[in-house]
């Protein structure tokens, strides 16, 4: 039986009406091909492999044809070799050991008398040769690189590129052969040679240095291409060999990078290409694009750089969206280094925000953010807020983050800043990133004069819609903090609204109850309600009720908070005002120390309740807020020469004889105190254990403290007394002091 010819099979398979029918045909044909292979039939091997390749493209397995490809390659017939090499490239890869069997055939074919056979071998090696094959055959390739046959020379050059990519150590051996490559007239050889030189220069600084001397020659070749008349063989829309021009420009870029002399040598030709290239078609713009990339990457003079950016600016106005796309991409790369030049094209860039293509929009957005500065912030924000409103969801999170950042850097006024934040939260409130919430809270805290305005606007914002979590979280927090300003109608910036305490609690309770509220959001709402117990006057009972209800909430977070707040109402009511006091303004770096100071300031309590809120703001993870109150007042044990030492106390629940004292040392002078050592001595009936201090440096201006823990064992429950010795270095002198601490509160030892 004579196996069917390829096109017959293709026609047959295309008549299949279902996938199942096609599969059946394929299986039948494969079986026939398999048995034909088994018969070792040389005559029909070629057409069988061709058919197999077709079926492989349809997605069916064809591995059983791999060896047959090798047999075809080994055949003397050109037709066989052609299909065999094609099959090898499609079915074989370096993962299979089988491919190594090709090596010998390729070697022979590289030396074949017919250049088209040599060509097949070079092509296959150059496309899929493994490292081992490349190692074995590099010598042959190198030989062919030196031939005068331009058909083979151009192929050998690209084959060499592949060899170098696979086995970089072999690069050296091709160096001699590169000597006269650029002297060729043949454009194929020129093009592939430039590619080879580029590969070598990119991989080796030594090669790069070596080939810099080619710059004048490359410039000459480029010049000839531009100046020469019409050459039909290489012409594309009136431009002579644009492919070669682009590759030369790319090689010049690599050679001119970081090298003043080379950059200088190519300056004129770059200017020439930049000004003379026809821009009506894509091909001209492709060359201009490469030219711009080169100008921006080498050490070009400023005039040339401005020329390049102006080309990009013109690209932005091009009707062709592809051109606009590459312009935006390139401008993004240069906006840092050539900021002012790019600024000149700002309005065109902003127009691209309205483009229909998402890739263009994204780039325009990124570029717009990069261009925002103190002078243009109002105008730019207007555009970007409009963009935020109308853009696709995939952009909203990045856009919101970008706006927050830019607003923080360049806000012309606090009011404007708050308004901008509000606009983002209400427009894209559900897309805002989680980390934005603590940042915004801090921002609002620090904008003291805007508190009334902010809480009013936030209240109004969530009144209609409390589904956008970040917005609701910030609003809840604000209402909790500044609810008193809200109900007292103190707003100056706009008409104050009339709202009662109950109405405020209504909205917070709605947030608590709503299915749309995330657990975190509920936490914010509950805490806010709790805080209002010290800011509102008529609704404290209502608040108590709400808090007690959530003491049995299924949500563990909520339950814990509610239980703690309940405890606050029941057992520690006298402390509630102090605990729920208004937050002080925070500076980011000093935040942690402020927390400890505030805790100390509260004095009567060792509680870290609101620390949680502070720490949320400061983004410290893993801190668990625990409410515990011992009711033991703190004392200032020492206060002299700017050094203050406070003691806070804790009694052990397991051993009533143990008192744990935490000392805190702070420094109000303008110089640090270093090598600080705290020592203590107690009467004989006591025992003392000093744990390691947090550090030995007390920073100046109360910007940090040293803490240290002392455990005192007092089995006889005697009045606690202590003698302390302090040594430290300050203002270049060694300091030392002794003191007695006698003001221990009774609760600390009784």
């Amino acid at each position: 039986i004579v196996p069917s010819v390829l096109r017959e099979l293709i026609r047959t398979i295309r008549t299949a009406r279902t996938q199942a029918e096609e599969r059946e045909m394929i299986q039948k044909e494969c079986a026939a091909i398999r048995s034909s292979f088994r018969e070792e039939d040389n005559t029909y091997r070629c057409r069988n492999v061709a058919k197999l390749l077709y079926m492989h493209m349809l997605g069916y397995p064809a591995h059983f044809g791999q060896l047959e490809c090798l047999k075809l390659i080994a055949s003397q017939k050109f037709t066989d070799k052609r299909i065999g090499y094609l099959g090898a490239m499609l079915l074989l890869d370096e993962r299979q050991d089988v491919h190594l069997l090709m090596t010998n055939c390729i070697k022979n074919d590289l030396n074949h008398s017919t250049q088209y056979v040599q060509g097949l071998a070079l092509c296959t090696l150059g496309c899929m040769g493994s490292s081992e094959m490349c190692r074995d055959l590099a010598g042959e390739v190198e030989k062919l690189l030196k031939t005068s046959n331009s058909y083979l020379r151009k192929k050998a050059a690209l084959c060499a590129v592949h060899v170098i990519r696979k086995v970089p150590e072999l690069m050296e051996m091709f160096l001699p052969a590169t000597k006269n490559l650029l002297n060729e007239k043949n454009h194929g050889v020129l093009h592939t040679s430039v590619v080879l030189l580029t590969e070598m220069c990119e991989r080796s600084p030594d090669m790069l240095a070596h080939f810099r001397k080619l710059v004048p020659q490359l410039v000459r070749i480029l010049k000839n291409l531009i100046m020469s008349g019409y050459s039909p063989e290489h012409d594309v829309s009136g431009i002579s060999d644009p492919f070669l021009q682009v590759r030369i420009l790319r090689l010049l870029r690599i050679l001119g990078r970081n090298d003043d002399d080379s950059s200088e040598a190519m300056n004129d030709i770059l200017a020439q290409v930049a000004t003379n290239t026809e821009t009506s078609k894509n091909v001209g713009n492709a060359i201009l694009y490469e030219t711009v990339l080169t100008i921006m990457d080498i050490k070009s003079e400023s005039g040339l750089r401005v020329l390049a950016i102006n080309i990009l600016g013109r690209f932005l106005l091009n009707n062709d969206k592809n051109i606009r796309y590459v312009a935006l991409t390139s401008l993004l790369k240069t906006v840092q280094t050539d900021h002012n030049a790019v600024q000149r094209h700002r309005s065109t860039i902003v127009d691209c925000l309205k483009d229909l293509d998402v890739s263009i929009k994204r780039r325009a957005m990124e570029l717009s953010f990069a261009l925002v500065n103190g002078n243009n912030v109002r105008g730019m924000m207007k555009e970007l807020l409009y963009f935020l409103d109308s853009c696709e969801p995939e952009f909203k999170a990045d856009c919101a983050s970008g706006i927050f950042l830019a607003a923080e850097k360049y806000a012309p006024s606090k009011r404007w800043h708050i308004d901008t934040i509000m606009r983002v939260l209400t427009t894209a409130g559900s897309y805002v990133r989680d980390d934005a919430v603590p940042n915004l809270i801090q921002l609002i805290t620090n904008s003291v004069e805007m508190h009334a305005y902010t809480v009013q606007r936030l209240y109004k914002a969530i009144l209609g819609d409390y589904s956008q979590q970040p917005l609701v979280q910030v609003a809840s927090w604000c209402i909790g903090e500044y609810g008193d300003l809200l109900v007292s109608g103190q707003c100056e910036e706009e008409e104050p609204i009339q709202v009662t305490e109950d109405e405020v609690l209504d909205i917070l309770e709605s947030v608590l109850i709503s299915n749309m509220s995330a657990s975190v959001t509920r936490g914010y709402a509950l805490t806010a309600i709790m805080k209002l117990s010290t800011r509102f006057t008529c609704t404290v009972n209502r608040i108590k009720k709400v808090v007690s209800i959530y003491g049995s909430s299924i949500d563990v977070e909520l339950q814990q908070r509610a239980v703690e707040y309940n405890a606050l109402f029941k057992k520690y009511d006298h402390m509630r005002p102090a605990l729920l006091e208004r937050m002080p303004t925070l500076e980011r770096e000093k935040g942690v120390h402020l927390i400890f100071r505030r805790v100390h300031v509260w004095g009567k309590v060792n509680t870290l309740y609101d620390v949680e809120n502070y720490l949320q703001i400061l983004e410290i993870n893993g801190f668990h807020a625990v409410l515990f109150s011992t009711g033991i007042p703190s004392i200032t044990a020492y206060n002299k020469n700017g050094l203050k030492i406070d003691f806070t106390f804790e009694r052990s629940n397991t051993n009533p004889s143990v008192t744990v004292i935490t000392i805190q040392a702070s420094n109000s002078t303008e110089l640090d105190m270093t090598d600080f050592v705290f020592q203590a001595a107690v009467p004989k009936t006591f025992q003392l254990q000093l744990l390691s201090p947090s550090s030995s440096v007390i920073p100046a201006f109360n910007s940090g403290t040293i803490t240290q823990v002392i455990k005192v064992l007092n089995p006889q429950k005697q009045q606690l007394r202590m003698r302390i010795k302090l040594t430290y270095n300050h203002k270049g002198s060694a300091m030392q002091d002794l003191a007695e601490v006698n003001n221990f509160p009774p609760q600390s030892w009784q």
Partner: protein, 161 residues
């Protein structure tokens, strides 16, 4: 260039040329994914997109999508010219080429591509030179059954070598 794909509007693969060693199953996955992405593009969108860590340049000619995946430092605009040059070569060879030509003579489409591009880079920038080489190679094909070299209308039975 990392690879080139030709596929129809219905997502049928007509040619795949890989210039970087990739496992078969990865190839299948990438082809499927990329075809989906490209076929979802609207006419108003530009010819470039980012996909994985590569840049993809694609252009539609009649019913066929020509799709190239290039690397970061490659020039997208010149790649469009590369695609166009390949189409011109096919057009000259087949005489007003259409998808059916590529389907029934896929091996020739590969031969032409392999004469134009090697290892992802252009071998020869002269249309004439590339076509001449194909022509000469075709002449070397041993005549087993009657066949024509340069022009094969799709409705006459074409014999494989």
């Amino acid at each position: 260039m990392r690879f080139m794909l030709l596929f129809s509007r219905q997502g049928k693969l007509r040619l795949q040329k890989w210039y970087l060693a990739t496992a078969d199953r990865d190839k299948k996955k990438m082809v499927r994914e990329l075809m989906q992405v490209v076929l979802a593009r609207k006419p108003k969108m530009c010819s470039f997109l980012e996909w994985r860590d590569l840049k993809v340049v694609y252009k539609r000619y009649a019913s066929l999508y020509f799709c190239c995946a290039i690397e970061g430092q490659d020039n997208e605009l010149i790649t469009l010219e590369l695609i166009h040059r390949y189409v011109e070569l096919l057009d000259k060879y087949f005489g007003s080429v259409c998808e059916l030509d590529i389907i029934f003579n896929f091996e020739k489409a590969y031969f032409i591509l392999d004469e134009f591009v090697m290892g992802g880079e252009i071998q020869d920038t002269s249309k004439k030179s590339v076509l001449k080489a194909i022509e000469q190679a075709d002449l070397l094909q041993e005549v087993r059954h009657p066949q024509t070299h340069l022009w094969s209308p799709q409705n006459t039975p074409m014999e494989t070598p």
